[in-house]
């Protein structure tokens, strides 16, 4: 494909290839659980599509690999190959490589930097070593024979022909159909066993022996050559004598005969098929009397560059030439035969279906396309534009209020409604079902369990729950980590489970649900649970907890040390879940999504990780407060209460100001270093994060509203204490406090 043409398809290619990749992985896992013809069909189709698409894009390396993989799937489908653990591992590694290639292609490459030779070689070996074809089960086939219409019988000799198709043929039924098709050229088929209908039905079993009774005047040898062909191992012919009806050769009109030499372009990809089309079209014009090489061989492409045929037809040579000249046919030479024995069955008197009903131009062309794919970057831009709209709507409102313009108020309230609807709609559009990442997880569980020698039943539910794409992006890694942890550290080995009276197969359950304004994702395992004493000991060993404090810790507090940076209770760092990353990273990732994570655990019974996530990050309800004449936004979700501040209750403990609020002593933040010193702080905002509270002193509370939080630009970088900024209706830029870092 030409370079410039090619780029426009890249995005589409990547998106669809990912889908197909996922289909393969999902169905491979189904297949691993047991035989499932539906799954292998799905896999085959997806693999086939991947191959075709990569070939179309010129990604040869990927095509190469997909092709080898498709062959294996084909062998599985034909039952030439059974699915073993080794084969499954090989196939899964293959799809992993394909995924890498898709990644590379997405980044602008062509997937060729990944070496696939070894993999292709292994796949080839797999198909090569596949055991001999199991013969399909011979089930009872309906032996109904179709009776021919009497008038087609011309009183010619009858023959019984038994055709045996080669045992190794992959498509015995197709071979049989071809033989029937060829025999039909020479007479009328009276019965067929198995019947044509059975042969045409792909699923019906066919043992490779076809018996035909037919009437023909062509002679046994002609029929033998018509019936034989590729993969036909034996043809047995027996003449049965004449039919009842007297011969009436005169019913066949004497038609002029022609010899035709048809040559096919050498670079034709499938010259047999070209010939096939040409022959089919000629057949519409007349009767093909002979073909050299035999028609079946020609249709299989078994000729050099040209083939010859004789045809009886009422049409003139020009018409014949036109019919035979299909694409990739290089030339057609026609020689009229002096005298033509009328032979064969009746020649079609006139070209059929030339006069089709005049095509009505359909006025109501239903060209609906119900789904569109949109580049995510375009959606992001649109989101930004809508955010700007929201901000400017606020400004307009304020201007109208200030100038007391009634008429404008009305217009603005209309805009107001549209913008709100637009915003809601945009949020909806950006929502993706969790299945997007859930679908990959069965594979992760399988691999992890496999690596660890564990037996795990993985159950997922609630995958249809939707989340904003940006939240989804950030959720993938932490979720992967938690799931690997559950299998790796949670579920015990089958032996151990048997010892303690648990079922050998461990259970890991992932569920998601929408709970009012949040999405809750729960990961539960029935493994060993968290050993609190072990956690404490480790924390002490790591120097993040003193022995004295350890004694005073509640169970929950102790477990929270799991999330301490650098903490890991795993004895060995494994290839799969270890990588030295601890739960602190998971917590960090979830928090950056404005979510929280909680663990509950019962030793011996298992653990549950609960992730609480906002469905979208972009719009947050905040309280606007003033401090030192500056405005600050605090997310409502973090605020526990607002109280008035009594200066006499402020105490200094160490370097930290604290305040006595009712019976609680809470750390107090004046935020002087951020916003300057204020002498008129009167209000206390009590915020809570992860069950830890603290207070922020402010001058006054201005109000509460929904705002769009924009991240700080890269130039500014990360500022501790501030999660982003928002622009209020009057155009002021206001920082949004990051409560997590305060407590």
């Amino acid at each position: 494909m030409v370079e410039s043409e090619f780029e426009q398809y890249r995005g589409l290619f990547v998106a669809e290839s990912r889908e197909n990749h996922e289909v393969i992985v999902r169905n491979l896992l189904i297949l691993e659980g047991g035989e499932d013809p539906g799954a292998i069909d799905e896999i085959f189709r997806a693999a086939h599509t991947l191959k075709g698409a990569s070939a179309s894009m010129g990604f040869d390396t990927m095509e190469h690999l997909c092709h080898a993989m498709e062959d294996v799937f084909q062998a599985i489908r034909n039952k030439d190959l059974s699915v073993t653990q080794d084969l499954m591992d090989l196939l899964l590694s293959t799809v992993d490589i394909i995924e890498e290639q898709i990644d590379e292609i997405e980044e602008g490459g062509d997937g060729s930097s990944i070496n696939v030779d070894e993999m292709v070689e292994s796949l080839r070996r797999a198909t090569g070593n596949g055991g001999p074809a199991e013969t399909p089960l011979k089930t009872e086939v309906p032996k109904t024979t179709s009776l021919p219409a009497i008038e087609t019988l011309n009183g010619n000799p009858h023959y019984t022909i038994r055709i045996t198709i080669d045992e190794s043929s992959l498509m015995k039924d197709v071979r049989a159909l071809i033989a029937i098709g060829n025999l039909e050229q020479f007479g009328t088929i009276i019965t067929s066993d198995p019947p044509l209908l059975v042969l045409e039905d792909e699923d019906a079993p066919f043992d490779g022996v076809l018996t035909i009774v037919m009437e023909s005047d062509a002679g046994a040898e002609a029929l033998r050559s018509a019936a034989s062909g590729t993969e036909v191992s034996e043809v047995f012919i027996e003449e049965m004598g004449h039919g009842d009806t007297p011969a009436e050769r005169s019913t066949i009109p004497d038609l002029p005969g022609y010899q035709m030499i048809i040559s096919v372009e050498e670079e034709s990809a499938m010259k047999g098929l070209r010939a096939c089309i040409s022959l089919e079209r000629l057949e519409e014009c007349g009767t093909i009397l002979s073909c050299d090489p035999p028609r079946e061989a020609v249709e299989d492409g078994l000729f050099d560059s040209n083939f010859q045929l004789t045809i009886a037809t009422g049409q003139d040579p020009e018409e014949l030439k036109k019919a035979a000249m299909v694409p990739e046919i290089r030339s057609v030479d026609i020689i009229p035969l002096k005298s033509q024995e009328p032979a064969g069955k009746k020649a079609s008197s006139a070209p059929q279906s030339r006069e089709q009903a005049p095509k009505k131009k359909d006025e109501s062309k239903s060209r609906e396309i119900k789904n569109l794919r949109v580049d995510i970057q375009q959606l992001d831009r649109m989101m930004n534009l809508i955010e700007d709209l929201v901000i400017n709507r606020g400004r307009l409102k304020q201007i109208a209020e200030k100038n007391k313009m009634k008429e404008m108020d009305e217009a603005i309230s209309m805009i107001d409604r549209s913008v709100s609807d637009l915003q809601v709609l945009m949020m909806d559009i950006r929502m993706i079902p969790l299945n997007h990442i859930f679908n990959r997880l069965p594979r992760v569980v399988r691999d992890t369990a496999h690596y660890d020698g564990k037996d795990v039943n993985f159950v997922m539910e609630g995958g249809e729950t939707e989340l904003d794409r940006s939240v989804m992006d950030g959720l993938n890694d932490p979720l992967l980590h938690l799931i690997r942890n559950a299998v790796n550290h949670g579920i015990e080995s089958p032996e151990r489970r048997r010892e303690i009276g648990k079922p050998e197969k461990g259970l890991v359950q992932l569920s998601a649900r929408r709970d009012r304004d949040n999405v809750i994702i729960e990961l539960r395992d029935d493994g060993a649970g968290i050993n609190v004493e072990k956690v404490k000991a480790k924390a002490i060993e790591r120097g993040i907890l003193s022995p004295d404090m350890a004694d005073q810790l509640t169970k929950e507090d102790a477990i929270s040390y799991l999330f301490h940076p650098g903490f890991s209770t795993a004895e060995t760092i494994t290839d799969i879940s270890g990588r030295g990353v601890g739960l602190d990273v998971v917590r960090g990732a979830i928090e950056s999504l404005k979510g929280t994570i909680r663990v509950t655990s019962h030793e011996g019974k298992g653990s549950t990780f609960e992730l609480l996530l906002p469905p979208t990050m972009a719009i947050v309800e905040v309280m606007i407060v003033r401090l030192n004449n500056r405005r600050i936004a605090i997310p409502i979700s973090a605020i526990v209460e607002v109280a008035s501040m009594r200066r006499e209750n402020i105490h200094r403990i160490g370097t930290q100001d604290s305040i006595l609020l009712r019976d609680e002593v809470l750390p107090l933040h004046m935020l002087e270093e951020m916003f300057g010193r204020s002498d008129s702080t009167e209000i206390l905002i009590v915020v809570q994060y992860n069950k830890v509270k603290c207070c922020i002193a402010v001058d006054l509370v201005e109000g509460q509203q929904e705002v769009v939080v924009k991240p700080l630009s890269r130039i500014i970088g990360v500022i501790r204490g501030i999660s982003g900024i928002t622009i209020l209706g009057d155009g002021h830029v206001v920082p949004v406090l990051d409560v997590n870092t305060m407590v």
């Binding site: 494909m1 043409e5 398809y9 589409l12 290619f13 669809e16 197909n20 799905e42 085959f44 189709r45 086939h48 599509t49 191959k51 075709g52 698409a53 070939a55 179309s56 894009m57 010129g58 498509m171 197709v174 159909l177 071809i178 098709g181 990809a269 499938m270 047999g272 098929l273 096939c276 089309i277 089919e280 079209r281 249709e299 299989d300 492409g301 019919a323 000249m325 299909v326 694409p327 990739e328 279906s353 089709q356 095509k359 009505k360 131009k361 359909d362 062309k365 239903s366 060209r367 396309i369 794919r373």
Partner: protein
């Protein structure tokens, strides 16, 4: 120039074909993602020509071809195939397909085939 219905289960292939056919001056009257949809759309749109993928979910290209031929014996159907599917395509031709194009598509070949089948 003809009114064409494109049948393929992937948007990628459909887009590719659409652009090729469009560049040849044809009108794309519809697209279908599986055999069942193809039959429905054929009935509704009565296109001059159908490009038909072979391997598709629900109803494959051969079955869809047979259904379409049952409805309209004069239907012009061009099969879209890949190397390795010769037998399937042969079956399709026996069932009334008028031509075939091989993936990866080469624009001139596709247009040539379509032109030829339309003229037949």
């Amino acid at each position: 120039m003809g009114r064409i219905l494109i049948v393929d289960d992937t948007l990628f292939m459909r887009t590719l074909l659409k652009n090729i056919l469009f560049s040849g001056g044809h009108e794309i009257v519809g697209e279908a993602g599986d055999g069942t949809e193809a039959v429905e759309k054929y009935q509704a749109l009565k296109p001059d020509l159908v490009t038909m993928d072979v391997v598709m979910p629900k109803m494959n290209g051969i079955e869809a071809l047979k259904e379409i031929k049952k409805m309209d014996p004069g239907a012009k159907v061009v099969m879209c195939t890949a190397v390795g599917q010769e037998q399937m395509v042969k079956l399709a031709i026996k069932s009334g397909a008028r031509g075939y194009v091989v993936k990866p598509f080469q624009a001139p070949k596709v247009l040539d085939e379509v032109k030829n089948v339309l003229a037949s």
